[in-house]
Point group: C2
């Protein structure tokens, strides 16, 4: 059974021009009429409630989605293993790139809070991309950006301490919020400690402890899911911090 997100709501055809994410979204850099062609393929936005699935692992791949508001997480189930959280998606980010050219979605994507997403049928998007070099470029760019994000993640998981992982995680979120016009210093974590731990390859208790320590040191202030970064420099110091652990030779 397909997830049945509410297909109501929202002002009929979306208008990218008016969207606050315009400057960060997929159609970035399109000419005006190109933009209108692009808008034409966007389906009526979907509303998701917390915990609701946008795509389920194994479903046939049909659409990309752009997050309009709210946030989501992707997790991948592997046989005999625990689920692994692989992504958090914020507004303006594209869901589904890792399934392009594949038959099925290779991870489930679930809303972490109430969210809206724009649905883009991929075949139509591809047809359009055929005519619009700009759009093609944007697609490539999004995919390779994701590749690099994943690689940075691999670096993080590979060689860093719990402190460094958390610091990088917080800085990464901060940066993404800043880019979207939100405060980079003060934001709400829409994911649970358990999600964070899973994402960073730590035990949830460790996440809790490290955050507590950061707080003691005056680096952050955290109350439940409300996060305030007090000393970005310290965090950057931690994140950048050379080696020490898990060095190879």
């Amino acid at each position: 059974m397909k997830p049945q997100p509410a297909r109501r709501s929202s002002p009929g055809v979306p208008r990218c021009e008016r969207c606050t994410l315009h400057a960060r979204c997929l159609p970035l850099g399109l000419e005006l009429d190109a933009l209108h062609s692009f808008e034409a393929i966007i389906q009526v936005p979907q509303a998701l409630k917390r915990g609701q699935a946008l795509v389920r692992q194994g479903e046939p791949f049909e659409n990309l989605y752009v997050v309009r508001s709210g946030s989501l997480k992707q997790s991948v189930a592997q046989p005999g293993q625990r689920d692994q959280v692989t992504h958090f998606y914020l507004p303006g980010e594209v869901v589904g790139l890792d399934a392009i050219g594949e038959a099925e979605c290779h991870g489930s994507v679930v809303a972490l809070e109430s969210a809206f997403v724009c649905e883009l049928p991929f075949t139509r998007l591809e047809d359009l991309a055929e005519q619009l070099p700009e759009l093609r470029g944007q697609l490539y760019r999004c995919m390779s950006r994701e590749l690099r994000r994943d690689q940075r993640m691999m670096c993080l998981l590979s060689g860093r301490t719990a402190d460094q992982r958390l610091a990088s995680f917080l800085l990464g979120l901060s940066e993404r919020f800043r880019a979207r016009g939100f405060s980079p210093f003060c934001f709400r974590l829409s994911m649970s400690r358990s999600d964070i731990a899973n994402y960073l390859g730590l035990a949830l208790e460790t996440v809790s402890r490290v955050l507590a320590r950061f707080q003691e040191q005056g680096t952050i202030a955290v109350a439940g899911r409300e996060m305030t970064l007090l000393d970005i420099e310290s965090l950057e110091g931690l994140a950048r911090e050379g080696v020490g652990l898990r060095g190879v030779n």
Copy 2:
């Protein structure tokens, strides 16, 4: 200064039709004349010696490369951190996908042994892809395959023990060799223990010890870089093995 790989050697224009990798390579599925157009943009193959760089981090992105023979590794340097090995490339695999749509290469790629690569100027490839939907599809497929590979890697780094990482690593190599027509049971590791350790997020001593233990248990036979997988099932058992460690709740 650009790396200056020997531009001699090899039979003038390469012939994909005759290439043993034909069935696994980028131009897979192209019609005959499309294939010829594709061949036309391939530069004279480059020969690389062990340790020689194919691309250096930060260089402007201009080409994709397909490995013809030999193997290479990609590593990414991050400020204040040790280099991180992010990939090993085997024949038929495409180097440079993570830089598409970007100005510069975001990692260095170095030959682990004598190697040949086909050079594909990306702008010309893109022009060609504009006319060949098949080729476009292949490009997408390669990129998303890479995305998924990276994600599997993240899972591996995130939640698994050293034994599981090594087992997965060996099985992964085995599978890739099999797919290329080499023996999946008996092969030569072209990378050092240190590279493996770095790639897997372990200390090099740990790699050595785990391999020794696998050998004691009769799962593998290893002598220096010559590797024989004796008991694939055991390895798969290890790799798949549920949880235990680093579980999240």
